[in-house]
């Protein structure tokens, strides 16, 4: 499994009811259901991903995340997970609101644009970064809202959200000590666990 998915796997409690936004081929939901008795649904828009989910026996619903989560009830899930999709949404901020409407806790991962390799690409070479986490050219990328580890923390502060956990992934691995101290510089993938502030 991808490094960010492994970490998320650990963050999902036994028996939780989850919604996995942009669930891809359903690998995460399948292992969560098999090993941790987790229930729930994946939302996906890619036809191949949907077929792979069905083949695995993962409940998947064809859904465009830009349409919001309107049909899902308030606080009807324990957690909402969204991996590597935030940057492709038309309004990432609104999706964050939606996630914390249907669940108490959200887990979000996205490519950190301030990762040092990306900085080298743009700052020194003068080109839009292309990397493992950002594999597309500028003209055909689905990633229309690139952001950094710091940007996301700022958005959470503005929205009054509590950051329960944060981590970074680098390549296939979880980040090492440098990325713990300077996540905005050394983290390639940003991973956040957020909650609404209790009133």
């Amino acid at each position: 499994m991808r490094a960010d998915l492994e970490l998320i796997y650990d963050w999902v409690p036994q028996g939780a009811h989850v919604l996995d936004l942009a669930c891809g081929d359903g690998a995460l939901l399948e292992s969560l259901a098999r090993d941790k008795n987790v229930t729930g649904y994946g939302l996906e828009i890619d036809p191949q991903g949907i077929t792979q989910c069905v083949a695995r026996g993962v409940s998947v619903i064809e859904h465009n995340l830009d349409d919001g989560l309107g049909s899902f009830g308030d606080r009807s899930y324990d957690q909402v997970i969204m991996t590597q999709a935030l940057q492709a949404l038309r309004r990432p901020d609104r999706m964050l609101d939606e996630m914390l409407r249907v669940a108490d806790e959200g887990i979000i991962t996205f490519p950190n644009f301030a990762y040092w390799r990306h900085r080298v690409y743009l700052g020194l070479r003068g080109y839009m970064p292309v990397s493992k986490s950002l594999p597309h050219a500028w003209y055909d990328t689905p990633n229309i809202h690139l952001s950094t580890f710091n940007d996301f923390e700022q958005l959470c502060r503005e929205k009054g959200l509590v950051i329960v956990d944060r981590a970074v992934g680098v390549g296939e691995r979880r980040g090492h000590w440098t990325s713990k101290w300077w996540p905005n510089l050394f983290g390639e993938i940003a991973i956040f666990r957020v909650r609404r502030r209790e009133r």
């Binding site: 949907i50 077929t51 069905v54 026996g57 409940s59 619903i61 064809e62």
Partner: protein, 393 residues
């Protein structure tokens, strides 16, 4: 049914179920119908494809749509020009793989292809049932299908599968007999008809009932059939089965001859096509059956029994669902399938949903399409794996 590619028996591909013979099951236990009447005895005609395993755990029920019947796959005789209506999806290596599954496909009560219906003999009067045949609903069909399952010794279907009105029967199965359905596939269906759907059905019924040859439904006793009415009914129905784009690309504004004739004979290709479809149907289908089946469509509304709450109505269901819609279907549009999906999610059921890109409108559920095939196969393969089914041949 729409045009499927004509394929003579001699040229049939290896993934055909080949020659098939219908069977008839007789039922002497009276069936109490939703309308309050009782059918004292009846027959159901059905076909089977594949082999029932020793545990009787590999049976798949096929529920047919408005003008469908029991002949879903294969050929009745080597002279047949066309295979059964869902041959694209049933056969060795196809989504409903007859190497693994034992497929049961019947003609519903009230039908005109061999099951007891308006053209059958009414034992009480000695006449044909005709318009006296009681109104049957989707629930009545499901009850009669359950008896057919008993008759075949099938405790639980590995899957119940249906498109359009067939999908509604599958839905009803999961509500009425949840423990008897291991998986449900509901394609191009809707949890209830819209006012527009009912309106189209009413136009079709009025076309039939206002035909002077209808004789209040007793046309058989006058040695005639309301051909013009049935033809019109089919023509209007057919328009709703195709998408605007499909009709446009198939016919456009093409003329049959080069010049306009400034008259009311057939000029445009689409007129010719609709008339042909209507004519063929008007001699092959029974008018009273058509009236009954459109009413069964109109009446279907499982949520009504739960104060309009579809999730509540679906609470009894136990099986995983696959719901499929098609992007250009405007008869039962994707939004209707999504309504059903949302209700299943609210009810906490296992459900997967895909909206397949297709230019073919409502008819898409009958036609082969790579993504549709892959998805359908994935679900059925998963079903076979879950149930531990092995190849039976």
């Amino acid at each position: 049914m729409p045009d499927s590619d004509t394929l003579a028996f001699a040229d049939r591909p290896a993934d055909s179920v080949g020659l098939v013979t219908p069977h008839i099951a007789q039922f002497d236990t009276p069936l109490a119908l939703a309308c309050g009447k009782v059918l004292p005895e009846y027959e159901l005609i059905y076909e089977t494809y594949g082999t029932l395993n020793a545990e009787r755990s590999n049976a798949v029920l096929i529920c047919h749509a408005l003008s469908g019947h029991h002949h879903a796959a294969g050929y009745h005789s080597p002279a047949d020009r066309k295979p059964g209506w869902w041959d694209a999806h049933i056969g060795p290596g196809k989504p409903i793989d007859t190497n693994r599954f034992f497929v049961v496909s019947l003609n519903n009560l009230g039908g005109c292809h061999g099951s007891t219906g308006p053209v059958s003999h009414n034992p009480e009067t000695g006449r044909q049932w005709g318009p006296d045949f009681p109104m049957v609903t989707v629930s009545d069909w499901v009850a009669s299908q359950a008896r057919l399952a008993d008759h075949l010794g099938i405790e639980r279907w590995a899957a119940a599968v249906g498109g359009s009105l067939g999908g509604m029967q599958v839905l009803q199965w999961t509500i009425t007999y949840p423990e008897r359905v291991a998986n449900a596939v509901v394609i191009a269906a809707t949890p209830r008809l819209s006012a527009q759907n009912i309106a189209f059905n009413e136009v079709a019924r009025q076309a039939i009932r206002s035909d002077p040859e209808f004789f209040g439904g007793w046309y058989a006793e006058h040695d005639t059939v309301p051909k013009r009415g049935l033809k019109l009914a089919r023509m209007v129905g057919h328009i709703t089965y195709l998408s605007e784009d499909a009709m446009g690309s198939k016919f456009g504004r093409d003329l049959r001859s080069e010049d306009l004739s400034f008259g009311f004979d057939v000029e445009f290709q689409v007129e010719s096509y609709l008339r042909y479809q209507g004519d063929t149907f008007s001699t092959a289908f029974d008018a009273n059956t058509y009236l009954l089946m459109t009413k069964a469509l109109d009446y279907f509304d499982p949520a009504a029994a739960a104060d309009g709450d579809l999730a509540q109505a679906l609470a009894p269901a136990q099986c995983p669902f696959l719901i499929v819609s098609f992007t250009t279907d405007w008869r039962f549009p994707p939004a209707r399938s999504r309504e059903l999906v949302d209700a299943l999610v609210r009810a906490g059921k296992a459900v997967s949903y895909a909206n397949i890109e297709s230019p073919h409108g409502h008819d898409a559920f009958l036609l082969p399409e790579p993504r549709y095939e892959a998805l359908f196969s994935a679900f059925m393969n998963r079903t076979a794996r879950e149930l531990g089914l092995e190849e039976t041949r």
